[in-house]
């Protein structure tokens, strides 16, 4: 537990990725072997069922701290994290223990079979033997929810460097099926339980944003234009009978998309496709908000499969018949891609992303304006003779996005942030005008500098009109321009519509609250997009 506590402290005392990776490497070098698989499980979201519910933990902590519940609630509100609040309000421990992490976790799992009184005794005695920092960690172990600024990717990079293994193999290995109690660290990093040779992906080729007019790119004849899709960029790999789907975040997401599993039977071995995972219904790409219902779920209901069916628009072919095609030209790769997808027996789910035909740049600019009607974000431009680069390479691939929509709104509610922003009013709700009323249309958290946040914070403190729990109603005075990517009908919102990916574009200090947009303006926009 002590070594793990040290790791957490080190992860928290730096905000530089390199320092965090160094801390992880030294942890995996020094820590006791049986602890390590548990830590990997924890950081990759393999969450065991929680043995004691939150309400009980909180009740026991308030009892032990001898404070009224409302005071605990105030404290929690100020801290922004339940595990931490409990760790801080408890009286100091009377004895100290030094048990290994995996024993604590195993004991917590064993609590499932015990009575409430036994659970309470165990938790109270644990609190009494741990210092504040260890208690915080222990509480996190109970909840199993450990967000500590370590992404799966960062963890994988650290493990790769520590063990000298390729990072894609580690990712495959830890994404596979395993139980921390039944595997040792060496087996886990070597991927003994899976065949990592089959799954390794290629680095994605990425595009730069086109900031100037496309005329500067030269002759239109040298370029291929495609729609820029807004889904999950993915790589589909079929090798030795096994199918893998990787997301650009370097995560294995195979299980999330059963619609694509037919590829295991239909794609020839030694094939790797690059493309976009999208929700496609009746041949049309649906808005990202619909695909979103499908993401990061453990189980997918029949209704979700019906309302948000998934397909794959393929951009590129990276491997065919086991051969790496990345140094072939786009023209060649595209022609083989069309063959490969054309041979699939299941039609309409995995298809090449359509090429946009255009004669000159003006024509393409016009077509780009219609992107939104297809739920596309704009145009991708790829040089016909371009190779498939690893990562970003200026010059061959460009994304030419349409500008976001914007709306001028007024802030009417503010709430304190959590995590890094606890203590400051950082979460705002914005409204537009509807007759003489203000109707909320968006909530946004980001887009302001720390200095502006402080400024808004002091405005909220001075202009709070009403309290609803943590929410403050403020005088409708501050005008913000909200940028958003799309608009949809919504029964859940009073406005009858919802904005997609709203964020603060700028603080319009030059505008007054009576100059904001109206709900009718947004309704018009909604109808124009349907």
């Amino acid at each position: 537990m002590k070594r793990f506590t040290q790791l957490i402290r080190e992860l928290e005392t730096s905000n530089k990725t390199n320092d965090k990776i160094a801390a992880l490497i030294s942890y995996f070098t020094e820590a006791a072997d049986p602890d390590k698989p548990y830590v990997i499980a924890m950081f990759t979201g393999k969450r065991p069922r929680r043995p004691v519910n939150t309400a009980l933990i909180r009740l026991w902590a308030t009892e032990l701290a001898r404070i009224p519940d409302w005071l605990f609630a105030e404290s929690y509100h100020s801290v922004g994290d339940l595990s931490e609040t409990i760790a801080l309000v408890l009286p100091p421990p009377t004895r100290l223990s030094n048990r290994p992490l995996h024993e604590w976790i195993q004991d917590l799992q064993a609590l499932h079979l015990q009575t409430e009184a036994e659970k309470k005794q165990f938790i109270l005695s644990a609190w009494d033997s741990l210092d504040t920092q260890e208690r915080f960690i222990f509480n996190k172990l109970i909840s199993g929810n450990f967000r500590i600024g370590v992404s799966a990717k960062m963890l994988v990079n650290a493990l790769a460097r520590q063990s000298g293994t390729e990072s894609s193999k580690i990712m495959h290995s830890i994404m596979g099926k395993w139980e921390p109690s039944a595997i040792n660290f060496a087996e886990l990093t070597s991927g003994a339980h899976v065949n990592t040779d089959n799954s390794w992906p290629y680095p994605f080729c990425l595009a730069y944003a086109l900031e100037n007019a496309p005329e500067a790119l030269g002759s239109p004849g040298e370029w291929q234009a495609e729609w820029k899709w807004d889904g999950i960029r993915g790589q589909i790999i079929k090798r030795n009978g096994e199918l893998f789907i990787w997301s650009r975040g370097e995560e294995l997401v195979t299980a999330q998309f059963p619609e694509l599993h037919f590829l295991a039977a239909e794609l020839p071995d030694g094939t790797v496709l690059d493309g976009e995972i999208l929700s496609i219904k009746d041949g049309n790409v649906q808005a990202f908000s619909i695909l979103q219902q499908r993401l990061n779920r453990k189980t997918i209901s029949k209704a979700q499969l019906l309302s948000a069916p998934v397909g794959f628009y393929s951009y590129d072919l990276l491997e065919y018949a086991g051969a790496d095609l990345r140094s072939e030209t786009l023209t060649y790769r595209r022609s083989v891609l069309e063959q490969v997808t054309g041979q699939l027996k299941t039609k309409g789910i995995v298809i090449p992303s359509p090429v946009v035909a255009f004669g000159n740049w003006e024509e393409l600019a016009m077509l780009r304006e219609s992107a939104r009607q297809l739920n596309s974000e704009g145009i991708m431009l790829k040089k016909l003779d371009s190779l498939y680069h690893a990562g970003r390479n200026r010059g061959d691939w460009w994304k030419w996005k349409i500008n976001p929509y914007t709306v001028d709104t007024v802030m009417i509610y503010a709430q304190k942030g959590s995590g890094r922003r606890a203590g400051y009013y950082t979460d705002y709700t914005f409204a537009v005008r509807d007759g003489d009323q203000l109707i909320t249309v968006a909530k946004a958290y980001s887009g302001l500098t720390d200095k502006e946040i402080k400024e808004v914070n002091s405005f909220v403190l001075k202009n709070a009109v009403e309290k609803f729990g943590p929410v403050r109603t403020v005088k409708p005075e501050l005008v913000f321009e909200i940028a958003f990517e799309g608009i949809a009908e919504s029964k859940r919102h009073k406005a009858g519509l919802a904005l997609r990916f709203p964020r603060i574009a700028r603080w319009r200090k030059d505008k007054k609250a009576d100059e904001i947009n109206t709900l009718d303006d947004l309704r018009q926009l909604l109808h124009s997009t349907l």
């Binding site: 009224p68 100020s78 931490e84 801080l88 890094r420 203590g423 400051y424």
Partner: protein, 334 residues
């Protein structure tokens, strides 16, 4: 009739005809300590502890009318007996005790109950009415003993040295800076920012024993700073000057560092919960020790803290003041 009232100029003693820590210009400002939210410019006369005089002169100018009074000595103002008792907050900080016709009131300004080794240690004073701050008036704020925190800071400095990093401590010029210098004495050369050094000089001239420090100046080599301990006020925390040091590692010393969110918000490399304000047990202990019948809660978690006092059988009321603007108090707004 009550000894004090809360007016739009500050805490007023009608019987004595003076104000305590007023925020608008008055004839006589009885001053608890030298932080800018407690002593403001423009008063005709100031009455404070002799060490606070050094701070006022440094910050507001030399040509002011300042009377001083040592701790535990009384002076009569229009029949009101006024005396100072140590508040333990920063060097020279005082609780103001007022006595008139057997009625005693104590205005504590800012205080902490742990002896920090440089400020004169807090002394509880029995009274009928007590005015208390509540900057850290939540049960999540329980400080570790100072020696434990200093050990942690020393460990951090030593790790920085192993990794060829420059240790930069971010600390308030008045209070925290002197505490660090005294608590870390002998652990390396101190390089202090001018705002800290100006106060140090005045304190030394007034007879306070402080370890040797060097004011930061362009002549000092970065390699020397890398070996030493650099102390700068919070205003410089994100400055280019720090970024240009050799592998700077910043450590913020503030009570707000008790909470992880506080540490992350400030994006420092390390946070040490070293505070010049009383923690939760400190506040409660101090208030109980006064045996006061009425407590006024000024700045901080005023509503939460006064509600808790009332529920615990201590009559308390929150009052709006303009205190709580000092650097440490500003950190997280209630």
């Amino acid at each position: 009739m009550a000894l004090i009232s809360f007016t739009n100029k500050g805490i007023y003693c009608r019987q004595g005809g003076f104000y305590i820590d007023p925020w608008q210009p008055v004839d006589l400002a009885v001053t608890t300590h030298g932080h800018s939210d407690h002593v403001r410019w423009g008063n005709k006369a100031y009455l404070c502890h002799e060490l606070t005089r050094s701070v006022i002169e440094q910050r507001l100018g030399e040509d002011l009318h300042i009377e001083t009074l040592p701790y535990n000595k009384a002076v009569g103002i229009n029949g009101v007996k006024v005396s100072f008792f140590p508040a333990g907050h920063v060097i020279g900080s005082a609780q103001v005790r007022l006595e008139y016709k057997g009625e005693v009131c104590v205005v504590s300004g800012d205080y902490k109950t742990e002896d920090d080794g440089v400020s004169t240690a807090f002394e509880p004073v029995k009274c009928h009415t007590f005015v208390s701050e509540s900057t850290f008036g939540l049960p999540i704020y329980k400080w570790q003993p100072q020696h434990v925190i200093m050990d942690n800071i020393r460990d951090w400095i030593s790790r920085n040295r192993d990794q060829q990093k420059t240790s930069v401590l971010i600390a308030y010029s008045l209070g925290k800076a002197q505490r660090l210098i005294s608590g870390l004495s002998g652990y390396g050369e101190f390089y202090t920012h001018a705002s800290i050094e100006n106060l140090n000089r005045r304190f030394r001239n007034a007879g306070v024993m402080l370890p040797e420090t060097t004011m930061i100046n362009p002549e000092i080599k970065k390699e020397a700073l890398q070996q030493g301990i650099v102390i700068v006020p919070p205003a410089l925390a994100d400055s280019r000057w720090i970024k240009n040091l050799i592998q700077p590692a910043t450590g913020i010393c503030s009570g707000w560092m008790q909470v992880r969110a506080g540490r992350r918000w400030r994006s420092a490399d390390a946070g040490f919960a070293l505070s010049d304000h009383a923690d939760w047990p400190g506040l409660l202990g101090a208030i109980r020790a006064t045996e006061a019948e009425q407590v006024y809660v000024t700045h901080g978690y005023t509503s939460v803290f006064s509600r808790y006092l009332n529920e615990s059988g201590i009559k308390a009321q929150e009052v709006k003041t303009r205190y709580g603007q000092e650097e440490e108090e500003q950190e997280v707004l209630p």
